[in-house]
């Protein structure tokens, strides 16, 4: 007969695994080991989600919540390791998006539990951001009308159920999904955007020559800049975070 694993045993194994990954969460560590750790994270996430499915079947809200916390922290670790791989491959935009993914996973994890390990992870990610990237004073922030969409928890039209956005139900984060944009009003430049993936990626320099914001290298494109400086950026990003 199979012995049923306890939540304490899962947590102990998870703590050891996170520690083993964190040792490689630095620029100088081997890229090939970082890639291995990313795969190990993916496998571990699969295992934790299977435990969570069991907890959901058992209608165990506390266990499913804590397993969701682990899922988010493992995803944060995976995303932060991907940052290094992308930086080494000079894929800076992808690296930035992975860093924001990691930070957002930690935010969700903190809704469930707050302890030194999570706070340290948040600090580590903030340090990565400050050390690697130039910093953006302004981000894009569009304003639009959209349809109500459906509830990610029950699938009903979001106005027809009682689930609340950003609350956690049985190990899943409630979001409005299947939303459709009806009308776009504007895009403003703001210091504090909802989505920090919406960055300026290029701007025009002398003679309208476009410059990559990450590298400050000329891209080879030349734009008509008679009416002012040209900037290119990301207006809307559809992140695919694993929050179910």
């Amino acid at each position: 007969m199979n012995k049923r694993i306890t939540l304490d045993e899962i947590r102990e194994s998870y703590d050891d695994f996170i520690d083993s990954c964190q040792k490689f969460n630095y620029l100088t560590r081997s890229e090939s080991i970082q890639r291995e750790k990313i795969k190990e994270c993916e496998e571990y996430i699969r295992v934790v989600k299977s435990y969570k499915s069991q907890a959901i079947t058992d209608k165990n809200e506390d266990a499913s919540g804590f397993l969701f916390h682990m899922q988010c922290m493992l995803n944060a670790m995976r995303s932060s390791l991907i940052v290094w791989v992308n930086v080494k491959g000079e894929k800076y935009n992808e690296a930035w998006n992975s860093l924001i993914d990691a930070q957002e996973y930690v935010e969700v994890a903190l809704k469930i539990e707050e302890y030194d390990g999570v706070i340290n992870m948040r600090f580590h990610l903030d340090s990565m951001e400050n050390a690697i990237f130039p910093g953006w004073k302004l981000y894009n922030s569009p304003g639009h009308t959209e349809t109500i969409g459906k509830c990610s928890i029950c699938g009903k039209i979001f106005s027809k159920c009682d689930h609340i956005e950003d609350h956690i139900y049985m190990g899943r984060l409630c979001r409005r999904v299947d939303r459709k944009i009806i009308d776009v009003y504007h895009s403003a430049l703001v210091e504090n955007p909802k989505d920090r993936r919406c960055i300026i990626t290029k701007h025009s320099g002398d003679g309208g020559r476009m410059i990559d914001y990450f590298t400050w290298e000329e891209t080879g494109e030349v734009k008509d800049h008679e009416n002012g400086k040209i900037v290119e950026g990301i207006i809307l990003s559809l992140n695919g975070l694993d929050l179910d």
Binding site: N140, H144, T145, E146
Partner: protein, 154 residues
């Protein structure tokens, strides 16, 4: 932090309703109403504690992608205030609790909320717009209470 107070000339929008009403963001317009995207979740949260309803059935939501929390536009009907003078304090408490829950795990940011109340002896409505942190929500409570007191003393 800022609190702006303005009188708004609008036709009676209480529509015979009591309690609190969540108004569309463009409530001065007669058609094509759109609600702040926070409105639905706030309504679900608040309806457990307050007598609250929408002005009309939400069909379109306004999504603003800056980091501030854009709260719904809330109308405190004259009937709601006359039947429970504590409604202002209770409403501010519900908003504060909702926002605190919403931002759990996130870095602190500003909130923007509009609350509208009617001076019962006139057709005037007073709109109070608050921009600031959660802790400062007490300011909006004080301004609303002053508006309500002024009306009672007139």
């Amino acid at each position: 932090m800022s609190v702006k107070v303005a009188e708004v000339e609008i036709l009676d929008i209480e529509n015979g309703k009591s309690g609190l009403i969540i108004l569309p963001e463009n409530y001065l317009e007669k058609v094509n109403h759109r609600y702040h995207s926070s409105s639905l979740s706030f309504y679900k949260y608040a309806k457990e504690q307050l007598d609250i309803d929408f002005f009309d059935e939400p069909e379109a939501l306004l999504e603003q992608r800056s980091g501030e929390w854009f709260g719904p536009v809330i109308l405190i009907t004259s009937m709601a205030y006359s039947s429970n003078p504590e409604i202002i304090a209770i409403t501010c408490g519900v908003i504060a609790n909702y926002v605190t829950d919403f931002f759990r795990g996130k870095k602190p940011t500003e909130i923007k909320v509009k609350v509208i109340c009617k001076e019962t002896s006139s057709t005037k409505y007073t709109e109070i717009e608050y921009n600031g942190n959660v802790e400062g929500l007490g300011e909006i409570k004080e301004v609303l209470t002053e508006v309500a007191k002024k009306d009672r003393n007139e």
